[in-house]
Amino acid sequence: MSERLGPDVAATIASAASAAVAESKIFPESAVSISQGKKSPPPDTPENTRVRSLVILSFWVVVITVGLPLWWITTAIYRAPLPLKEMQSWADGRACRAEFPLLIDVEALTLPDPEGLLKTVQHALDDANDFSAHHLRLRLSTNSSKVEDGEESVAATLRLSQGAAGSPHSYVLSPSSRAIDLFYSPSYNPTTLSAFVASTLQEIFAEEQQMISYLLASSAPAPSPSPSSGGGNGGNGVKVVNKVNTAEIARKMSRIVKYSPMYHLTFSLFTAAGDPSNWEIEEAVSEYLQPLLDALGGISGFTVDSQIQFYASLSSSVVPTWVPDSEKEEGEEGEEGEESASGRYILKKEDLSSFINSAEWPLVSITSYPAINFIIYIPAADQSPLVIPTSSTNAFLLPQWGGVMIHNPPAGSDNTHLTKEALKPALDIFATQLLSLLGAPTHPASLPIRLDSLTRQRSAELLVSASSTLGSLYRLTLALPSISIPSSVSTSVSSTLSSLTAACQELRHGRFGGALEEGRNAEEQAEKAFFEKSMVGQVYFPEEHKVAVYLPLMGPVGAPLLMAALKEISRLVRVWKASRLKK
């Protein structure tokens, strides 16, 4: 074999080996023998092996006990503990079953058997009610109606009295108090009367009930009984009003401005030319609108300002179309030859959505709370009269934003000044629009009852919105494990939870003012927790960056450590196998 290799190979091997000659003292003559078999190294002493194992072990001990904890501590993100379970149960609507028990005082001094009637009416109401969270409770008021039952507020007072002879049952709502005057017909029949009382009460509170059931249902679809499910059974007439027109309610709900304890109202007069240059808005607001704002004071406060903007042009996409007065009239009077004299400019429905020229009209408010805008627009002389054909008041409402009214000053009048009286129709419209923007029900004629409804509705809304904010926070913390959670978030969350529980308790006991207060607090704290600034800071620090920073060190240091450990383990395994073989 060695002869076959020839002198070339032998020389190569010899030269390769010659480097080690000095140390290993191998003579060139023995070079050939290398290719045939290796000289084995002197056996490793057990002491050496032990020392080596100890060295490797000590390195690993240092890495694991000092290095890793140090790295962990210096790079850890602080995440305050959050009551995740509770948050989730609120978000799912399981934590609180909101109830709205409405207490109705009944004054029936002339009726022979008021208790009996009450019982029947209560039965009828309970039977008809398919949304158990919102229910009416009747109470016969004693002679002294001033008796306060804790703090529970009375939703309405029903006063039964005998009506005129021959007349059917009827009721009257007073616009400024919570009293319902019900006149029963003298031909007293307990069955029809109880049915009438029940349907009256149902009718008055139907809208509120629908709104609240919609609100609660939209937040938590699973637990509370579906509002539309129970509508079919029992064919009495009371049920008809109770059927939920979901689309109608959804439309109403979509208009409502998000709840805030303060609102800023801006009244703007936009005029396409240079006049009118002043208006008595201050006086008009204090006379026509202030009473309403005062009444709403328990729910939200208001600040008011106003402005006049001259030379306000409509945005270019809004082009009113000229429509001459109806042809019939023209046919009769057309011979006078004044085609352009009578007619009007019409705004189409599509135009209304882009009517507000937000690029040019300064409508932004810098207040920290939401602003509601009310605009009176006076068209230019060459575009007058400007009419919205679908609106009898020539006004329209922009959901969650405000209201607009187009004012066509009467021809030939003094255009430079708008008096208080001229502003009255506009402010009346704005008052209605304000109520529907705030979400007050439109139905009962009595303002106090409507405002009470609004309080309950707003409490429900706050409850739902604070809960859903908690739910979002819950999902956020789970979805982004790399964001930090400062302790302030944890405090806010626990304060939200306690406020929510308190609000729920207040609702159950019928103290709606307190519930609103607690709900407001819960919402505020929940928002504070969710929008905590320091939480977002680290979200955009991607993992790849960390790899780029760590790898240059961890790679070269980690590789020898790992290799040494593997080698050592394989040696140990060999030794262990050998020892087992021996056995």
């Binding site: 002043n278 300002d305 402005q307 030379y311 240091v557």
Partner: protein, 588 residues
């Protein structure tokens, strides 16, 4: 012929203001002054004054601004947007005593009512953020490092009760780098009741305004009280610009500036190199003809109906030109001559208004009044480490000493040495030039340096104000993210003091400066990480290997490493090839 001097013109124009303030709330007035400057330039100075009440119902006073003032408890506000340099040597005194012009970029100062400094700072931040949104300017970048509290330079211009004055805090901030442009003009026009659609504001157009050699937009809001105690909120908006007639007329023919053919140039034939292909341009030989519609691209579109009815004193448009120059105006306007050089006109409500001035040769200029002080400032020194600043302040008057406050607001990374501050007149300091110094040193990354020096310059003398500074090294995140061109240093503000009342009567700004700082290589942090990591890994690897490896002879290696195995194979292959190659010639 008596030439009308600037102060008297200003007085004439200020007369309507006095009239306006005596009338009812919620009124508005506007006027335009056109003045010819040497070198075929025209100064156009627009002035709009709106009065409003302090409550929340607004008509001509803009609600958006009133709301900001109310939210931030600001009692007096001055906001300036300026572009370019006022060439005092050529154009003389600034209009309105320099009150309406700011330093290059954006300058804002305000008197904020607050109980203490920290509350004032919080309200100042609110004010900056809100104004930033209103004017589409980066005013929100005026933070504590760019805010100073001047002591000697500014006095409130409005009427404040003594009790309130004690609670007012003056804060001043500048953004010398801010490019002023159309997006700032649009919100400015929206504040006007006629919104640039009627009246003199219809002339304002971004293309012409920002094409000017120098332009300044300013907003001053202050409370104005009458003797009877009736107070109202007054906002004065001004737009001043210097237009080059030749350049503006050129726009008419071609939108792109083109060099004129050589035949149309007026050359100085007395120069030795004058000939067919070389020309030393002569300017100011003739006064070029111009009209309003040529200069601004359109005529004035009627008058703003909301402005107060013009009276004998208050007119809409005034033209200040040499007496010799004739002037033609469009129909419907009334002319009122105040003096041979100041001709004023009132606008017709529905008719366009235009002014045409024919050519006049030879050119006749108005006599210019020099400013109280000529000021210029420049950087001295070289290198990346330190530098110096030299301000040259010249008193052109031949008989009166001028006293003024020189205010510098320096960024924290420019660290001046106060002991190097020197003021000399032709190399000597008689110890009488610097009257007073107010100095507030910088804190790194917290606030900038504020230096106020009260100086007195004798008639006809030039003072050199010098000081040296160190350049700080910034952290790499503190450099702006765009291509680095250096850092802008805010213009110095010179407030001329009235000798008796010690109040500022005139103000001048120097130009801004460009300071270059040592710029690092921005990939440095990562390089440092890699390099240190490599060194550490090397050290660790060798120590670790020495500790755990077993060293044996080369012939004692068990199994051999992967590398030596591969080498063995390669060697064998090469040897085989070589032998095959070596055999062939043998067989032949």
């Amino acid at each position: 012929m008596r030439l009308l001097s600037w102060p008297s013109i200003t007085q004439l124009l200020l007369a309507p203001l006095a009239v306006a303030s005596a009338s009812d709330y919620n009124d508005y007035s506007e006027n335009l002054l056109l003045k010819s400057l040497p070198g075929n330039s025209i100064l156009a100075s627009f002035r709009f004054v709106s009065n409003g009440t302090f409550d929340s119902h607004h008509s001509v006073f803009p609600r958006s601004l009133a709301q900001i003032l109310q939210q931030s408890q600001t009692k007096e506000l001055h906001l300036k947007f300026t572009l370019g340099r006022w060439d005092a040597e050529q154009w003389g005194r600034q209009v309105w005593d320099g009150r309406t012009a700011g330093g290059t970029g954006v300058e804002l100062w305000a008197w904020v009512e607050a109980a203490d400094d920290s509350e004032a700072d919080a309200r100042w931040t609110t004010l900056n953020n809100a104004l930033s949104g209103l004017f589409c300017a980066s005013l929100n970048f005026i933070d504590s490092t760019r805010t100073i509290r001047p002591v000697m330079s500014f006095q409130p211009a409005g009427h404040h009760s003594p009790e309130r004055l004690e609670r007012l805090h003056l804060l001043h901030g500048t953004l010398p780098r801010e490019p002023v442009c159309t997006e700032n003009l649009t919100p400015f026009l929206k504040l006007l009741p006629c919104k640039g659609k009627a009246g003199i504001s219809s002339l304002l157009d971004g293309h012409r305004l920002f094409d000017a050699q120098w332009q300044s937009m300013s907003i001053d809001v202050k409370p104005v009280c009458e003797e009877s105690g009736k107070c109202q909120l007054q906002m004065e908006q001004t737009v001043d610009m210097v237009l080059d007639v030749e350049r503006s007329l050129g726009k008419k023919d071609s939108p792109v500036p083109k060099p004129p053919p050589i035949e149309q140039l007026s050359c100085d034939q007395e120069k030795p190199y004058a000939g067919g292909d070389s020309c030393f341009p002569l300017s100011g030989v003739t006064d070029l003809p111009w009209s309003l519609s040529e200069m601004f691209g359109r005529p004035v579109r009627g008058s703003c109906p909301l402005a107060v009815v013009p009276t004998e004193e208050a007119t809409h448009v005034c033209v200040n030109i040499a007496e010799k120059r004739s002037i033609f105006v469009s129909q419907g306007s009334e002319e009122r001559k105040r003096s041979p050089e100041l001709r004023c006109f009132t606008l017709h409500e529905n008719l366009d208004f235009d002014i045409v001035l024919p050519e006049l040769s030879p050119s006749t200029n108005l006599l210019l009044t020099p400013p109280p002080v000529y000021a210029s400032r420049s950087l001295t020194g070289h290198g990346q480490e330190r530098g110096g600043i030299q301000a040259v302040l010249n008193n052109p008057s031949s008989n009166s000493t001028v006293e003024f406050v020189y205010l510098e607001s320096l960024p924290w990374f420019m660290k001046p040495y106060l002991h190097t501050l020197s003021a000399t007149i032709s190399g000597k300091d008689d110890g009488n030039i610097i009257q007073d110094i107010y100095y507030r040193p910088a804190l790194d990354r917290k606030r900038g340096t504020q230096l106020e020096v009260r100086l007195r310059v004798p008639p006809g003398e030039t003072v050199l104000l010098n000081y040296e500074f160190d350049k700080a090294v910034l952290r790499y995140t503190e450099y702006p993210p765009d291509a680095n061109r250096g850092f802008d240093i805010a213009p110095a503000i010179i407030s001329i003091l009235d000798s008796s009342s010690q109040k500022s009567t005139f103000s001048i700004r120097t130009t801004s400066l460009l300071l270059s700082l040592p710029t690092p290589d921005f990939s440095m942090p990562y390089n440092v990480i890699i390099l240190t990591s490599t060194v550490m890994a090397l050290a660790f690897g060798s120590i670790f290997n020495i500790l755990v490896r077993r060293f044996v002879g080369a012939d004692e290696v068990i199994g051999g490493s992967l590398v030596s195995k591969i080498r063995g194979h390669v060697m064998a292959f090469v040897a085989k090839k070589r032998r095959a190659g070596g055999d062939k010639p043998k067989t032949e």
